[in-house]
Amino acid sequence: MSGTTNDELPRGTPLMTVHGRRRGHVENLLGAGGQGAVYAVAIEGTRFALKWYHDDIASIDRTLRARLSRAIGIGPPTDRFLWPIDLVEIAGSKSFGYVMPLRDGDYNGMRDLIARPPKRIDLPLSKRVMVCLRIAQNFLELHARGFCYQDINFGNIFFHTQSGDILICDNDNVDIDGMDAAVFGTRKFMAPEVVRRETLPSTKTDLFSMAVLFFYIIHSWHPLDGRRENEVQIMDSSAETSLYGRNPVFIFDPQDQSNGPVPGVHDAIVARWNSLTPAIRSLFTRSFTVGLRQPGERVLEPEWRTNFARMVDGCVSCQHCGYDQAPRQGVKGQTLMPTVCVACGRPMALPPVLLIGRDTITLGPGIGIAIHHIDPDRPVDFTTMAGIVEEHPTNKGVWGLRNMTRNAWKVTLSDGSAVTVDPGRAVRIMDETTVDFGRRVGRFVTGDTASVPRERPR
């Protein structure tokens, strides 16, 4: 309701930070919500964002100030959280606020993935999965510190379309897990037991909301919206309480098809679901079957992280229709199954891949092999590369994987002969060649596509 309240802070209003006793002033209004408004402010020459609460919020939300002070004292779990830096007061005002870093303008809201076309951002599958992975990594850090976020929804997490990186805003509801929560949450993101008002938000309800957000990011759709939602003419509060609280059923519940996809209506959702790895589908199924009823059984961040990380590098697009999907691994991950496209049904020519354990990495010009793929002790990190796919400097059309580590790789060719690839050297990508990276062993599978990599959807 920007502009509708007369308590808007005028430009130039002087302000003071509570702990640091630093002076600044209000620059301009950035946005407004139910609890207050966000302004750009300058404090001793540096620009920050100021969240300034409505006068009555402190009396409605009695733990707000203490909660913010504690968060400020402890500091952000990672630099992806736009975390409160200091409380702010303004002379002559009964209210208060806090300053936080300004959000970089290059980030988009999650709503852009769901918006009505043509406003919708159509992100490639691998990038969507990367966004989910980043969210899992960052909420792991928050939850591991004993905090819960309480109100995960598509309004408070932002993503970068190129890097897949994220920013987490609105951290003023963050509290110690187990304290009485300040909000119930946001429509369609609340766990069923919160919708039924049986409990307040906690780490366990965060896990549910996070799974909903993952499903939204990948499918641009809600996991509990199937046949039953499609039949609700007027979505009033009693219909909502039934669908998301009293009688929730996953659209892909393998046992209960009462809320399953409707042919001709949900086809796009079904195709997207079929394009995911079995591991990710199984995590969603757990989240929205047993996880609906037993909060203790919800999927924790490390499991999401591991399986999203496996999927990020393994997406391919159909050469006929362009639809992004994860190729199927064979028994024990030793081969790739012949794949038909989940969208158009035609057989797909798979690009060359490197199989390492259960990780599938599709290979293309300039593609890097992240270090965590070859060293299980390394954290998931897509910035440090162990190898990179390069063309032979003189023999065009011959592609290899360059060793960017400090250790030699032991390579066994398909005829059984062994060679060593020293740091800085490259090994040709050929079918049935195995590479011992030291901690893990990988295998090139090029199928019938010869060894010419294609561009991977990025």
Binding site: M1, T4, R111, G155, G185, M235, D267, I269, A271, A343
Partner: protein, 231 residues
């Protein structure tokens, strides 16, 4: 050999709609600065409505506008996506046929005129006076319409002559009262509020058990800051 590609674009998915119906008093007493202010307020409210709609990305916000004076006529007859809504100014003159306006709205509060998946419709009634026709009959028709009882009803009273009691009966909620606009600035703010906050109430974080309580609380906040300047 061509193979038919399935249409997997999400454009194929029909989206749930939120229908907003604005019923605006254009009677003779609105002539002059009041109707000019109302037209200005509507122009100012449209970008805010678009922003509120963007906050709720799964839903399409559709707007119709009804003017009432001597009789009631649709000013924007077809439900129009808020992004496509362009305002053409209303003119004032005539009586205050509020009852007839409610009947006209009653006629569209059904699945035929609001087809497919819907959120509860929002009706915003804006008036500066007393109905000169049968309000009760209109109200009865409205509540008897298939989607009538489920519509979220909001009212804005312009100036000191507005019939608050009638507008309270239109809203019919113990805690949620008509918003009062006593000057042009108030009117801009109230129209913005009435056209955006009900929309936001379906997508916002909330402590309240139902959207109307959220509205009531926010309306209370409005009242405190309302100007006392009489028109």
């Amino acid at each position: 050999m061509a193979i038919d590609l399935p249409n997997l674009g999400q454009t194929a998915l029909v989206r749930r709609q939120l229908q907003v119906v604005l019923a605006l008093d254009c009677s003779g007493s609105m002539t002059g600065d009041k109707i000019a202010s109302l037209n200005y307020a509507m122009r100012a409210a449209i970008p805010e409505m678009r922003a509120a709609a963007a906050d709720n990305p799964e839903t399409d916000l559709m707007v119709r506008v009804l003017r009432f004076a001597s009789g009631a006529q649709w000013h924007v007859p077809d439900p129009t996506l808020v992004d496509d809504l362009e305002w053409t100014d209303l003119a004032a003159g005539g009586e205050t046929h509020m009852g007839e306006a409610l009947c006209a709205i009653a006629d569209i509060l059904n699945p035929e005129y609001m087809p497919g998946r819907q959120l509860p419709p929002v009706i915003v009634l804006v008036s500066d006076g007393q109905p000169s026709d049968d309000f009760d009959m209109g109200m009865k028709r409205l509540l008897a319409a298939p989607y009538g009882q489920r519509a979220l009803r909001v009212a804005v009273a312009i100036g000191g002559d507005a019939d608050i009691e009638i507008l309270e009966r239109f809203i019919a909620h113990p805690d949620f009262k008509p918003l009062r606009a006593n000057n042009a600035q108030d009117l801009v703010n109230r129209i913005k509020w009435a056209t955006t906050v009900p929309v936001k109430s379906v997508s916002q974080s909330t402590n309240a058990p139902d959207p109307l309580t959220v509205l009531a609380r926010d309306a209370e906040r409005q009242k405190k800051t309302a100007s006392d300047v009489i028109w």
